[in-house]
């Protein structure tokens, strides 16, 4: 069994190095995903963490102020003021009513400082084909059930 001892030691060293690499300093790599409502319940824990907050862009809330973009994310009755000051231009899908993900940190004054924004236009994913005026909303039924 002696030779297996050597293998065991080598394997243990490799695995230990990997675990060390995976855990050391991973705090800076962590991003918490929260919805606007969940963020409200975090209290003091919300400060100092990197966060990714998801919600809907409130209608008419987008304002450009110099290089910064201000807007409000809302979910149910909760609002969150967001200041975006990243380098990248905002995605084309970012507009009133879009679902947006803001990544950044929470400030003590209650505004969220975002460094990146992702947005998707909600309608794209709900399959609402364009309708003629007066036409009822089509339901998507299973062809199998309707025809057999």
């Amino acid at each position: 069994m002696k030779k297996y001892g050597k293998f065991a030691i080598l394997i243990a060293i490799i695995l230990a190095v990997m675990v060390w690499l995976a855990t050391a300093g991973s705090g800076g790599s962590k991003t918490y995903y929260k919805t606007v409502a969940e963020l409200g319940q975090m209290g003091d824990r919300a400060y100092g963490q990197r966060l990714r907050v998801g919600g809907d862009v409130a209608d008419g809330s987008i304002q450009h102020r110099g290089k910064q973009v201000l807007f409000v994310l809302k979910q149910d009755k909760q609002d969150l003021k967001v200041v975006y000051s990243g380098l990248d231009p905002l995605p084309d899908t970012f507009r009133d009513g879009a679902q947006a993900l803001a990544e950044g940190k929470m400030d003590r004054d209650g505004t969220f400082h975002a460094t990146s924004i992702q947005a998707k236009c909600a309608s794209k994913y709900e399959a609402k084909p364009s309708l003629k005026p007066g036409q009822a909303l089509p339901n998507i039924n299973s062809g199998t059930k309707a025809s057999l």
């Binding site: 995903y33 399959a127 084909p129 039924n141 062809g143």
Partner: protein, 668 residues
């Protein structure tokens, strides 16, 4: 038509179930007719799935917007080739594409082995058909591609569809999913053979020999798919990178890593009869990772920038995985005695141990990627918080692992079996090692201080030299014996043992890819708002905005910046990055301006207009050595194809064992 399609997939579902039952029952009760009917059921499933696919394709190509799938993933002005690609671009279609590929693979397997492996083939058919049953279950009852748009009970249509996502309207993206799927689906075959051989307790390595080509081809498709995905990300997403550790990318990497481990460790079993349990575990792991990959891509389990529709198909996949994994574990534990190893490890510095470490590292990196990818789910289960890990985390972990693997790529093939003497180590590694040290020293003097980059370039040269020396030594001895010229002797050498030298070519490809990735350490990037006449500097390049242009066609509106590029005063012509806005899907895309050269890429992205709509936001990147990633990808394909060519001199991986002692001598 739609009824015909629905009927075809429903029938296919029933026939696939029949194939499972008939094959297993026929094998147990020893009824050849039942077994034969199971085989024919496999062919029937293929015919039915081909018909169903034809119905969907016909609907896509003829703009039949009564189909919900067509209305969601196509529109009238979509170019024909992308209408075809829409088959695998949405949830329902891509799952049906999976089924069709699996049906095709299964039919080919059954046909090519119709007179072989009589013992285990019924189980192979049963396993493949069981997987097929699961996917047909999804096709029929969860994500039916033949759903129609209807008002109440009346089928209706829409005037035009909402179009294929413009991000997917790119040649590499049109063939990337089929490539990846050919890889994902293909691992079902070696898995089915492994399970078949396990159930019937086949002696020897029959399943490995039979599936060696399958595994290689599948692995090739997967590698090609990953490379195409990276190429797509680089050329279409406009962020200047090719790999971002996004969950969907990771999902495609996972089975490739474990598949690579499998390709190496089967050699141990063929040559030494070792690692039998391990190989079964590896091939099963790879297969289940393929299923997991399909699930991650399709169910939106983990948040991804690829932003595919979220759906509830996840729970079906989880059930399928749970049943499959539990069944496999039970089979392996039940038959451990049959999987006993024929020989043992002898020394730390030996071929065996280099394979062992290769496997350990590949599997550990596979686990690390899986952990990082699923971390939001894991942390949610443990602490209730969804926490995601960023690309830095993956890089911190994977860069050292990758470098260690690169090192093993160089030393592994030159270690002797059983144990390696100090003398042979010195002979093989002295010059490549010395050259690598000289290169690192030279780079350091030249001002390169990035530690990983130095190590990587050193290892790259080391591995490349060991491979070149291997080719040279072999070719020289052939040239000396036969009088061939050296290039001719290299071809002859490769042809005599395609597996070995094809493998070396693949290792060379890995070196090229590492060179390309290492270039990332020297990337430059800058973002500027530029009006007409403005100039910006990046690296040696000077970028001058000549003018801006805009227009529109049927498909999209576009803005274009025409930028004059000069390098150290020399005129290099113009680059024209473009921003498009697609009308049907209301999405924007970027068409980058790229000047690719072996030493570096100049990459310009038109990110949008400034807030006052006067200036263009231009993101400029200088990415050194990226060219070599794509070059390495081509060598990877070439090397794998060489491995698939049969060797001229048949290499017998015979083991020396005493089969009996001759008692009488035949008199001549």
């Amino acid at each position: 038509m739609e009824n015909f399609g629905s009927l075809a997939i429903l029938l296919a579902f029933a026939v696939a179930i029949y194939a499972v039952v008939a094959s297993v029952a026929g094998r147990i009760k020893n009824k050849p007719f039942l077994i034969a009917s199971g085989r024919r059921a496999v062919y029937s499933v293929w015919v039915l799935m081909t018909l169903a696919s034809a119905v969907l394709l016909h609907a896509l190509l003829t703009n039949d917007f009564r189909f919900a799938y067509v209305a969601e993933h196509s529109n009238r002005t979509l170019p024909t080739v992308y209408k075809f690609a829409a088959w695998w671009s949405g949830q329902e279609g891509s799952l049906m594409f999976w089924s069709w590929l699996l049906a095709t693979y299964a039919a080919v397997v059954v046909f090519t082995n119709r007179r072989k492996h009589r013992d285990m083939m019924p189980y192979v058919v049963a396993v493949l058909s069981a997987v097929q049953t699961f996917f047909l279950l999804m096709n029929n009852f969860v994500a039916n591609p033949f759903q129609m748009l209807a008002v109440d009970k009346l089928i209706t249509s829409v005037p035009d569809g909402s179009g294929l996502s413009p991000l997917l309207q790119y040649p590499a993206m049109a063939i990337h999913p089929p490539m990846l799927y050919l890889g994902y689906v293909g691992f079902a075959v070696p898995f089915a053979f492994a399970i078949g051989s396990l159930i019937t307790r086949q002696p020897g390595e029959g399943w490995i020999h039979t599936t060696r080509r399958w595994t290689l081809i599948t692995w090739l498709f997967q590698g090609t798919g990953i490379m195409l995905g990276a190429a797509w990300a680089y050329h279409v997403l406009g962020w200047g990178g090719y790999w971002g550790w996004d969950p969907v990318e990771n999902a495609s990497l996972l089975p490739w890593l474990s598949g690579t481990a499998f390709l190496h460790s089967v050699m141990m079993q063929e040559k030494k009869g070792m690692m039998k349990v391990w190989n079964i575990v590896l091939v099963s792991t790879t297969f289940f990772l393929c299923i997991l990959g399909t699930m991650m891509t399709r169910s939106g389990l983990v948040q991804s920038v690829h932003a595919f529709a979220r759906s509830d198909i996840g729970k079906y996949f989880v059930s399928f995985l749970a049943i499959g994994i539990a069944g496999t574990i039970y089979l392996i534990l039940d038959r451990l005695d049959y999987l006993k190893s024929d020989s043992q490890l002898e020394a730390v510095v030996s071929r065996e141990s280099s394979f062992l470490f290769n496997n350990l590292i590949l599997l550990a990196s596979c686990f690390a990627v899986l952990w990082g990818t699923l971390f939001p789910k894991i942390s949610e289960a443990v602490s209730g918080d969804q926490i995601s890990l960023d690309a830095d985390w993956f890089n911190r972990l994977m860069v050292p692992i990758g470098l260690f693997l690169l090192f093993l790529t160089g030393v592994g093939p030159l270690f002797a079996w059983r144990r390696t003497s100090g003398e042979s180590l010195r002979r093989n590694f002295q010059w490549p090692g010395l050259a690598a040290v000289v290169l690192v020293a030279a780079l350091f003097v030249a001002g390169v201080r990035h530690p990983y980059a130095l190590i990587s370039f050193g290892f790259c040269l080391f591995v490349a030299l060991t491979v070149i020396v291997e080719f040279y030594k072999g070719a020289r001895s052939i040239a000396a014996k036969s009088g061939f010229s050296l290039p001719h002797a290299v071809v002859e050498l490769t042809h005599r043992n395609t597996r070995r030298y094809g493998g070396y070519l693949v290792h060379m490809a890995i070196v090229l890819i590492f060179i390309g990735i290492t270039g990332k350490a020297f990337n430059l990037s800058d973002t500027r708002e530029m009006a007409q006449g403005d100039t910006m500097q990046i690296g040696h390049y000077s970028l001058h905005m000549n003018r801006m242009d805009q227009g529109e066609n049927d498909q999209y509106q576009w803005h274009k910046a025409i930028i004059q590029v000069t390098k150290d005063g020399a005129d290099l012509g113009t680059l024209e990055p473009e921003k498009r806005f697609y009308k049907a899907s209301k999405q924007g895309t970027s068409e980058i301006g790229l000047r690719q050269r072996p030493n570096e890429d100049l990459y310009l992205n038109f990110a949008g207009m400034s807030d006052d709509n006067q200036r263009a936001i231009i993101q400029a990147y200088v990415n050194p050595l990226v060219f070599w990633i794509w070059a390495g990808g081509l060598v990877l394909i070439g090397g794998t194809l060489v491995c698939l060519v049969p060797s001229k001199v048949k290499m017998q991986y015979a083991r020396t064992s005493v089969v009996g002692v001759a008692k009488t001598h035949v008199k001549a």
